[in-house]
């Protein structure tokens, strides 16, 4: 096994890890602020993929440009989801919220089956097979674009959280909801904004993978399981943790694939996961609250 081969594997994993990171950011944001575990996150990602697909198939919009459509749509879906479904049960026990989001996920998947059939659809771009070579290491343009998109959105979310008033309000509502309410923050509004942002993150991840991943109603499940692990690994509620965690899991899966066959390739990432939780039970960037 040559050095370039390992380098190549790490790079493949890194690029994929960016996607995991972006999916996980949406999840961790929603959890951090509302303490709701959103099982419908995969379904939201799937909606993002369909938005991209239809923008591409009907309006001939380049899949990566379609984020201008995906983001507002998914933001809106997220807002409605929060306002009409999550809000009424925001104080309910956790397992009830869990069931609700799971139900929404089933509903969304099946409504898509109903509307657009369970057919597999493929977004085909003219630059699908463009590869860059650095020595013997090849980089797929699609994966690189997906990674850059994920980086970009992650950076924007991070900046919004740390530099803006909205971000401060979100963090305040997350850390101390009643305190935030006392100092005049409209916590309800923060809740639906956050859910909207989280859903938009899922939508963008959908857009990012659509050009190299078939689009079908249950596709979200493939990514969201990994995303849950990433969220815990990075520290529940930590945006940086989610992104770094995504990169770690991506690379671990990829390297694991070198040594273990089939589903066993996740072994390495699970071992890392357990080790991190052993030594840092709150996750990489989790606070000690």
């Amino acid at each position: 096994m040559s050095f370039t081969y390992i380098l190549q594997t790490l790079l493949d994993g890194l690029l994929m890890g960016g996607i995991y990171g972006l999916v996980a950011i949406g999840l961790t944001l929603i959890f951090g602020v509302m303490k709701v575990i959103n099982f419908a996150h995969g379904a939201l990602m799937m909606l993002g993929m369909y938005a991209t697909y239809w923008a591409f198939a009907l309006l001939h919009i380049d899949p990566y440009v379609s984020i201008v459509i995906t983001i507002p749509i998914l933001f809106l879906v997220g807002v409605c989801f929060q306002k009409f479904l999550i809000n009424p049960i925001i104080d309910a026990p956790e397992h009830n919220q869990l069931l609700l989001t799971l139900g929404v996920s089933l509903f969304l998947e099946n409504i898509v089956v109903f509307l657009w059939s369970p057919d597999y659809r493929v977004v085909k771009t003219p630059y699908e097979f463009v590869y860059f070579y650095i020595g013997d290491v090849s980089i797929s343009l699609l994966r690189l674009l997906a990674f850059c998109l994920a980086m970009l959105v992650a950076a924007v979310v991070y900046l919004v959280l740390t530099k803006t008033d909205l971000g401060k309000a979100i963090r305040a509502s997350s850390e101390e909801p009643s305190g935030a309410l006392l100092v005049g923050i409209n916590v309800r509004r923060i809740y639906w904004t956050t859910f909207g942002i989280g859903a938009a993150c899922a939508g963008v991840s959908g857009t990012a993978v659509a050009p190299f991943f078939p689009v079908y109603p249950t596709v979200g499940g493939i990514f969201v399981i990994t995303a849950f692990m990433v969220v815990v690994l990075g520290g529940m509620g930590s945006v940086i943790g989610a992104f770094i965690g995504g990169l770690i899991v991506g690379m671990a899966d990829s390297v694991g694939g070198l040594f273990f066959p089939g589903a066993m390739k996740n072994l390495l990432s699970f071992v890392i996961f357990i080790l991190i939780l052993l030594f840092r039970p709150t996750g990489l960037f989790g606070g000690s609250k």
Binding site: Y5, Q8, T9, D12, G13, M16, I19, Y20, L106, F107, N110, I111, V113, F114, S117, P118, D119, Y120, R121, V122, K124, E128, F129, Y131, S138, S140, V209, F212, F213, P214, Y216, P217, T218, V219, G221, I222, F223, T226, G250, D253, S254, G257, L258, P261, G262, A263, K265, N266
Partner: protein
């Protein structure tokens, strides 16, 4: 969920039908399942019910509904042609049961169909589900004609009520290897090495295992055997292993979505064998694979269960399906279509809707007029279609064509594939 509701509406078993069916078998149900067939004996019901267990919702809904279409079409054709003549022109009626792709739901499915009075059951698309469903059917003594499910085990358990049309793994994999060696010899090409990428379920695992066993008989060797998980988001590492193997032939088994991803990754990483040959590949034999991926699928081959394009009956089936659903009938639907005719043929000979009599008639099946690329349909002692044979297909000019064996070919194959 909306989908499930819709399905229920289409299911064709209204509450009234159900009550009717239940009433008819009420006595039997009270005594237990053993006495049950006797109640229906002799009576010529206006409708003969055939159960059909398929994943109509869930991740495999796409394929499940294709199979359903095939079966529905066959039932309508038979009814239109006058139903079962020996039973006074009795009409067939399909009862659907949704497995959602889960084995446990197929158990309740068989039980429900049994109570509803189905004379026979078909299904189930997935080997794991079929293994369970046939076992329950055996218990209730309902003849079960497997439409699509490849695992050898299904017909290896000494069951009396299980019959299967589809070539099983032990027929499919060695036949594919033989055909590869045949076409290589014909083209005067040396083919020594095979790299095999397959899903890590029982499906890909058993097929690739058989290929590894059979290849040496034809002077070939499997130099790389790479399993992947259909549920994993990235298959790049696996495909790089295939590329590193640099084999003459790249073989692949899997379902549709993962098949598409693996194939795209192979094209992207410029894997260039003399031929891509699927074995029971869920993508390579599906016209949607060609439609969605376009030119890059040209010359891709697949050793799979197929219809015989040169049979006049199959031509009729092609035309009918095209008219109804606007596409070429996918092979999976063919294997949901033909079982209905096999059951109808058995009913015709049985002159009875008694499951025991029907089972014996099925066991004596010798159907010469059918749509498959094989000799007469005859079941061996295990219930397996003895003469079942696969065909090699190739994507030529954007169409999936049968190219081998020659007697069933509808187009001339291209091997090795031009670079």
């Amino acid at each position: 969920m909306a989908n499930t509701k819709k399905k229920r509406g289409n299911r064709g078993i209204s509450r009234r039908d159900f009550i009717k069916g239940t009433a008819a078998v009420g006595v039997a149900a009270a005594v237990g399942s053993i006495g049950f067939p006797n109640v229906l004996r002799g009576a010529a019901p206006p409708e003969i019910q055939i159960g059909n267990i398929l994943p109509l919702s869930g991740p495999l809904a796409y394929l499940g509904n294709q199979l359903k279409n095939g079966a529905v079409m066959a039932v309508n054709e038979i009814n239109k042609a006058g139903g079962i003549r020996s039973l006074g022109g009795a009409k067939l009626k399909l009862l659907d049961a949704d497995s959602e792709g889960k084995a446990d739901l197929s158990i309740s499915g068989v039980e429900r169909l049994d109570r509803a009075g189905a004379v026979a059951i078909m299904g189930c698309l997935q080997s794991a589900v079929t293994i369970v469903a046939t076992q329950v059917a055996e218990k209730y003594r309902v003849p079960f004609v497997v439409s699509v499910a490849v695992a050898d085990k299904i017909t290896e358990r000494g069951f009396k009520y299980t019959f299967r049309l589809q070539p099983r793994a032990a027929q499919m994999a060695p036949q594919t290897v033989k055909f590869i060696s045949d076409i290589a010899r014909q083209a005067g090409e040396k083919v020594k090495t095979i790299a095999y990428i397959h899903d890590n379920t029982a499906f890909g695992g058993s097929l690739s295992g058989l290929v590894v066993e059979t290849a040496p008989k034809y002077g070939m060797e499997v130099v790389a055997r790479v399993p992947y998980s259909p549920r994993s988001a990235d298959v790049t590492t696996e495909v790089r292993k295939i590329k590193a193997a640099g084999a003459d032939i790249v073989m692949a088994s899997g379902y549709f979505s993962d098949g598409v991803r693996v194939f795209r990754a192979m094209k992207g990483l410029r894997v260039r064998p003399k031929a891509f040959v699927g074995c029971g590949n869920g993508a390579y034999s599906d016209q949607n694979f060609v439609k969605e991926l376009g030119d890059m699928t040209e010359y891709v081959m697949d050793g799979n269960y197929q219809a015989n394009p040169n049979s006049p009956l199959a031509q009729k089936m092609f035309d009918h399906y095209q008219a109804l659903y606007g596409q070429k009938i996918p092979p999976s639907a063919v294997f949901a279509y033909e079982p209905v005719y096999v059951i109808a043929d058995a009913l015709e000979r049985a002159k009875s809707t008694d499951r025991e009599v029907l089972r014996n008639a099925l066991a004596r099946t010798n159907l010469k007029k059918h749509v498959l690329p094989q000799g007469p349909i005859v079941f061996d002692a295990t219930g397996q279609n003895k003469n079942a044979q696969i065909a090699l297909t190739q994507v030529l000019g954007g169409k999936i064509r049968v190219v081998w064996p020659e007697q069933y070919a509808e187009a001339k194959l291209v091997f090795p594939m031009p670079s």
